[in-house]
C-alpha cells in the first residue's frame, strides 16, 4: 500500500481521503483473510515439505508415487465430478420452472430449498442410511412395485454415497442458477425467435450463455464442497472409499503424521485453487 502511495502522482485530497476510508472499511476483513486464512495455509505448505532433517519431498512421493494414494485422489475427484454432474443435470431444468412459479407455489418450492440447509449434514447423511438400508423405505418401495425381487444392498456403496451427496449439495447448485435465471430478460429469447432462430438454437446460443455466470457459480461451489467432503463419505460409505479428506483426518487424528496429512491437504488445496481460478476466469470472459 505505502509503495503504491509513494509512486502515485499527487491526487486531489478528497480522492485521497475516500481511498483512505475505503481502505479503513476493508481493513478488518483483510486482517482476517491474511491472518487467519492465508498465513495458516502457507504454514501448512511449509509443514508438508519439512521433515526431521530439513526440506523433504518424501510426503509427496508417498502420496503421488503409490497406487493406493493415487486411487484415493481419484476417489475424491470421481466423487466430486459425479456429484457435480448429477446436481447440475437436476438443477438446471428445475431452475427454469422455479423462475416461472409465482405466489404460494414459489414460496413453497423455495422453502424446500432453504429448509434442508437448516438440518445438519450429519443428520441428513444419517437419514439416508435409514432410507437406503436393505429393509429401508427405498428397498420396500421397489419391492412393492415389483421393480426388484430381492432387496438390493445400497448402503455403504458408491450409489448411496452419491445419492446422499447429491441430496445434501443440491441447494448450493440450484440457488445461484435460479438467481441468474430469475433475472433473465425474456425479450432476448423473443428477439432470437423473431430473427428466425429455432428453439434449440435460441437455447444454446442465447439462454445458456446468459445463464453461464449462475452455472459457473453453482458448479464451482458444489465441486469444491463435494471433492473435500468429510462427513458424507464417512457416514455413507466409510473405510471402503478412502478420499483425500478422510486420509487427512486419519493422518492427524489417528496416525499422528502431520507432514503427510499436510501434503494431502496441499493436494486438495491445489484442486480448490484450480477451481477458483478457472471459475473466476470463465465468468470474467466477455461473451
Amino acid at each position: 500500500m505505502t509503495e503504491v502511495a509513494l509512486i502515485a502522482p499527487p491526487v486531489a485530497p478528497s480522492v485521497d481521503r475516500e481511498r483512505l476510508t475505503a481502505f479503513g472499511f476493508a481493513l478488518p476483513s483483510l486482517i482476517i483473510i491474511l491472518g487467519v486464512f492465508a498465513l495458516p495455509l502457507l504454514l501448512l505448505l511449509g509443514v508438508s515439505v519439512i521433515g526431521p532433517d530439513g526440506l523433504t519431498l518424501v510426503n509427496y512421493q508417498r502420496l503421488l508415487g503409490t497406487p493406493y494414494y493415487l486411487g484415493v485422489i481419484w476417489n475424491s475427484l470421481r466423487f466430486g465430478l459425479l456429484t457435480t454432474a448429477i446436481t447440475f443435470a437436476i438443477s438446471y431444468p428445475a431452475a427454469f420452472a422455479l423462475a416461472r412459479a409465482r405466489g404460494a407455489l414459489r414460496s413453497l418450492l423455495l422453502a424446500t430449498l432453504f429448509l434442508p440447509l437448516a438440518a445438519s449434514v450429519i443428520v441428513k447423511a444419517f437419514a439416508w442410511t435409514i432410507l437406503l438400508r436393505s429393509d429401508g423405505i427405498v428397498n420396500e418401495t421397489l419391492l412393492a412395485l415389483g421393480i426388484i425381487e430381492d432387496p438390493i444392498r445400497m448402503i455403504f456403496t458408491e450409489t448411496a454415497l452419491v445419492v446422499g451427496a447429491v441430496n445434501i449439495f443440491l441447494p448450493f447448485m440450484i440457488l445461484p442458477i435460479y438467481a441468474n435465471v430469475a433475472q433473465l430478460d425474456a425479450r432476448y429469447a423473443e428477439a432470437a425467435a423473431t430473427l428466425g432462430a429455432s428453439p434449440l438454437v435460441t437455447f444454446f446460443r442465447v439462454i445458456v450463455p446468459l445463464t453461464l455466470p449462475g452455472i459457473i457459480a453453482g458448479v464451482a461451489l458444489v465441486f469444491s464442497l463435494s471433492v473435500s467432503a468429510y462427513v458424507v463419505p464417512t457416514l455413507l460409505i466409510g473405510e471402503k472409499y478412502p478420499t483425500l479428506a478422510t486420509t487427512i483426518a486419519k493422518a492427524y487424528l489417528l496416525a499422528r503424521e502431520p507432514g503427510f496429512g499436510a501434503a494431502a491437504g496441499a493436494v486438495l488445496l491445489v484442486i480448490a485453487i484450480a477451481v477458483v481460478t478457472l471459475s473466476s476466469r470463465l465468468s470474467r470472459e466477455p461473451k
Binding site: 476510508t21 476493508a26 483473510i33 495455509l41 504454514l43 431444468p93 413453497l108 450429519i122 443428520v123 473435500s228
Partner: protein
C-alpha cells in the same frame, strides 16, 4: 417443443422438491418412534425421545457453545463483511476485484484443510485458548458467506440515495441506517442465515480445534451417531427444523423468499 421442455422442467422441480424433503420427513417420522430402532412405517407414536434430548451426555454445554460461536461469528462477519463490501462497491479501493475474490475464496477451500492449517498455526503462535480459537476460526468460515451476498447486494444499490437522505437533513450514519439497511434487508437476512448455519453446522474446522471440555454440537452429534444411535437425535433435529419452518414463514412474509434466493448468488 418449448412446452414439452417446460413440462420436463416442472417434473424436475417437483421431483427435486420431494427428493430434498425426503430425509427431513424420515427424521421427523423417526423422532416419534415408540421403539429405539428406526422402523418405518411406525407402529405407534411416542414423544419419549423429545424428553431425552436434554439428558444426552454433554448436550447443553455443546448447544450453548455452538450458539455462542455461531451468533458471535455471524455478527462480527456481518459488520466486517458489509464494510468490506461497501469499500468494494464504492470503487475507490485499489485492487478491489482481487480483494473480493480473496474474501470469497475460503468458501471454496476444503474445510478440513483449513482446520488442520489453523491447528498448526495457532499452536505455532501460542494461541491455545480453545473458545477463542473456535471463534476466530469460525470468522473465516462465515465471512465469505457475508462478503459474497453483500458484494452482490451492494452492486445493485444506488449510493446516491444515501446522499439524497443527507441532503434532506439525515446524518451520514442515519442515512445509512434508514436508507441503506432497509434496502438491503434481504441481503442481510440471507447473509446472516447462511453464515449462522455454516458456523452452527461446521464439523471439519471445529474438530481440530475442540478439546474435551469444548465440543461443538456437530462434534457431539457425530459422536452420538457413532456410539449409540437412537431417535433422540432425530427429535432434536425435528425441533430445529420446526424452528426453521417458522423462521422461513416469517422471512417470506417480511421480505419474500424469492428476494432472498435472488441475492444468494
Amino acid at each position: 417443443m418449448v412446452r414439452i421442455a417446460m413440462a420436463f422442467c416442472w417434473v424436475m422441480t417437483i421431483g427435486l422438491a420431494l427428493f430434498l424433503i425426503a430425509p427431513l420427513l424420515v427424521i421427523a417420522a423417526a423422532s416419534f418412534s415408540p421403539t429405539p430402532v428406526f422402523d418405518l412405517p411406525l407402529s405407534g407414536a411416542s414423544l419419549r425421545w423429545y424428553g431425552r434430548i436434554g439428558r444426552l451426555d454433554g448436550f447443553w454445554p455443546s448447544l450453548w457453545l455452538s450458539l455462542q460461536i455461531a451468533l458471535l461469528s455471524t455478527a462480527l462477519s456481518l459488520v466486517c463483511g458489509t464494510l468490506a463490501a461497501i469499500a468494494i462497491a464504492r470503487g475507490k479501493l485499489p485492487g478491489a476485484e482481487a480483494f473480493a475474490t480473496a474474501l470469497v475464496s475460503p468458501l471454496m477451500m476444503p474445510g478440513l484443510v483449513l482446520g488442520i492449517a489453523l491447528l498448526q498455526y495457532f499452536r505455532a503462535i501460542g494461541f491455545t485458548a480453545t473458545w477463542s480459537t473456535l471463534l476466530v476460526a469460525h470468522l473465516v468460515v462465515t465471512l465469505p458467506y457475508v462478503a459474497r451476498t453483500m458484494i452482490a447486494g451492494l452492486a445493485r444499490f444506488d449510493f446516491t440515495l444515501v446522499e439524497a437522505a443527507r441532503t434532506l437533513g439525515c446524518t451520514y450514519p442515519g442515512g445509512v441506517l434508514r436508507v441503506m439497511v432497509p434496502a438491503l434487508a434481504p441481503s442481510f437476512l440471507i447473509a446472516g442465515l447462511f453464515s449462522f448455519l455454516a458456523s452452527f453446522d461446521n464439523y471439519p474446522v471445529s474438530i481440530f480445534l475442540a478439546d474435551v471440555r469444548n465440543k461443538t454440537l456437530p462434534i457431539r452429534m457425530l459422536q452420538y451417531i457413532e456410539e449409540a444411535p437412537d431417535p433422540t437425535l432425530a427429535a432434536l433435529s425435528t425441533l430445529i427444523l420446526a424452528g426453521t419452518v417458522i423462521l422461513l414463514f416469517i422471512s417470506d412474509r417480511v421480505v419474500g423468499l424469492h428476494r432472498m434466493a435472488g441475492t444468494a448468488d
